[in-house]
């Protein structure tokens, strides 16, 4: 049985290091696969973004592919409390943003996500070797309600899951597909129905990194649907 995670970050005197880490983390990546997806009266982008100012919904301001749909009776905080808790917005989890239309016009939602620290995972993939990772998932929906709604998906929340380097200093992030697999595993352990790689979200990314960046792209383009009871 999976347990509720208690994670914490205690920061005492770290401004120089904070500046360094944030510099790395805020490095934006680029994609040629950014599009708007439509379902019934709703729309959303298939990547989240590093900013939400005018012009941020651009292929050069993307962060991670949207690779999870929580549907049926989903709410952001309900999912976080059943997954890895509410991650405070700080060094290891800074906000990212998704642009959506829940049938009444475009809006942005921002989230720092839910994060599971120091899990063993053997990665020998692309050019990366790791044995310990952090799982990080950001969840997006109308901030006023904490969910979006349409008659096909019920109350739903969109999510972008990825892995953070769990060794030494946190140097790289990526492998969305592996994080998606773990979110699916966790959902099944909760007794929730999971349809892995359920629908094409058109954000397939083979092993790729942007020059100077710490993003390791790796995603098959098909999002997993997790039915929240």
């Amino acid at each position: 049985m999976l347990r509720r995670i208690k994670s914490f970050t205690s920061i005492l005197a770290i401004l120089p290091l904070a500046a360094i880490l944030v510099t790395i983390i805020t490095y934006s990546a680029s994609t040629s696969n950014l599009i708007i997806l439509v379902v019934l009266n709703d729309k959303f982008y298939n990547y989240d973004f590093v900013c939400k100012d005018p012009g941020c919904d651009s292929p050069n301001k993307v962060d991670w592919p949207i690779n999870i749909l929580f549907w049926n009776n989903a709410e952001v905080n309900k999912i976080k409390s059943n997954y890895w808790g509410l991650e405070p917005c700080w060094l290891t989890a800074i906000p990212r943003h998704l642009k959506m239309d829940d049938g009444f016009g475009w809006f942005w939602d921002s989230d720092c996500g839910t994060k599971l620290f120091d899990e063993p995972l053997r990665i020998r993939l692309c050019s990366i070797s790791a044995d310990e990772v952090h799982y990080h998932m950001r969840l997006y929906a109308d901030p006023e309600k904490d969910y979006n709604y349409n008659s096909g998906w019920g109350k739903y929340v969109l999510a972008a899951a990825h892995i953070d380097d769990g060794e030494g200093l946190e140097d790289w992030a990526g492998f969305s597909e592996l994080a998606e697999d773990y979110v699916a595993y966790w959902g099944r352990a909760l007794g929730w129905a999971v349809a892995e790689d359920w629908a094409n979200f058109y954000n397939n990314e083979s092993c790729r990194r942007d020059d100077g960046g710490s993003h390791i792209w790796y995603n098959n383009g098909y999002a997993t649907a997790v039915k929240v009871p």
Binding site: M1, L2, R3, K6, S7, T9, S10, I11, L12, A13, I14, L17, I20, T23, S32, I35, I36, L37, V38, V39, K43, F44, W71, N72, N73, L91, T92, L116, F117, D118, R124, L125, S127, I128, S129, A130, K145, Y149, G152, G154, K155, E167, G168, L169, D171, A193, A195, W198, A199, E205, S206, C207, R208, R209, D210, D211, S214, I216, W217, K227
Partner: protein
């Protein structure tokens, strides 16, 4: 006339009811009838415009060969591989700039972890690192425009603290021992030791790395092993002994005891 009034009243009542019920209807979960018989949503999203047409560029066999050769000629990589006694190639990652291919990363897994002490340029953000750590893998970014290594990444292997203390210079070993004592005073670390005492378990300390750059920091892991449960606590402490970051994995085993 009364019939007309009745009709108008009825219509107004229906409109009022619809307005009142609308939010409730919109926020209600799907009924069974609305749900698909399967456990996946019945409707999938469609692209509003044509999906991206240009697939990510890959690396040709010739480019992989060049990347491999250039990476293997880098002094740090050559030295690590020589002392490890061999390597296996993990794989390749294409590197792009503004969507165009500019080079590639190659990953080498070393045949055994080897001690590294020195400086290098990280391939992530081109930061300078100064590190003392056991290393079990190295990734190398080779830019195909300059045919040169622009940065590397060393993957730290976790080793028992005593093993690292033997490799560090005496003054560095003293620094690490001093910082370890400071880390042990952190409430979460103390709690882990208390838990170990209560459960009849042990706490072992693993060493990840001592950094002088990009920041002066020491990374340690405290691993609780008991019959009832196990848990991992990672501590990053700066050279003044201040805790920079602490993260705890979920306890594995009997939740009621951990």
């Amino acid at each position: 006339m009364p019939g007309r009034v009745l009709a108008v009243s009825l219509a107004a009542a229906i409109v009022l009811l619809a307005v009142l019920l609308a939010p409730a209807w919109r926020t209600a979960p799907l009924t069974e009838a609305e749900r698909s018989a399967s456990e996946a949503p019945s409707v999938a999203p469609q692209p509003l415009e044509a999906p991206g047409k240009s697939p990510s560029p890959g690396l040709t066999e010739e480019e992989r060969r060049l990347i491999r050769e250039i990476a293997l000629s880098h002094p740090i990589v050559r030295d690590l591989i020589e002392r490890a006694g061999g390597y296996t190639i993990i794989g390749y990652t294409v590197v792009t700039k503004d969507g165009a291919k500019v080079g590639g990363d190659i990953g080498f897994e070393l045949s055994k972890p080897v001690w590294f002490s020195g400086e290098y340029t990280s391939m992530y953000g081109y930061r300078a690192y100064d590190l003392r750590a056991y290393v079990d893998a190295v990734s190398v970014y080779v830019n195909l425009e300059c045919m040169c290594v622009k940065g590397i990444h060393l993957s730290e292997a976790d080793v028992p603290l005593e093993e690292a203390l033997n490799m560090l210079e005496p003054r560095e070993a003293r620094l690490v021992e001093n910082l370890l004592e400071k880390a042990r005073n952190h409430p979460e670390v103390r709690e882990l030791y208390d838990k170990a005492g209560r459960l009849g378990g042990t706490v072992t300390v693993e060493y990840e790395g001592l950094y002088y750059k990009p920041e002066k920091a020491l990374s340690l892991e405290f691993r609780l092993e008991a019959t009832a449960c196990s848990q991992l606590l990672k501590i990053l402490v700066d050279h003044e002994g201040r805790i920079i970051e602490a993260s705890k994995s979920p306890a594995r085993g009997d939740a009621s005891q951990c």
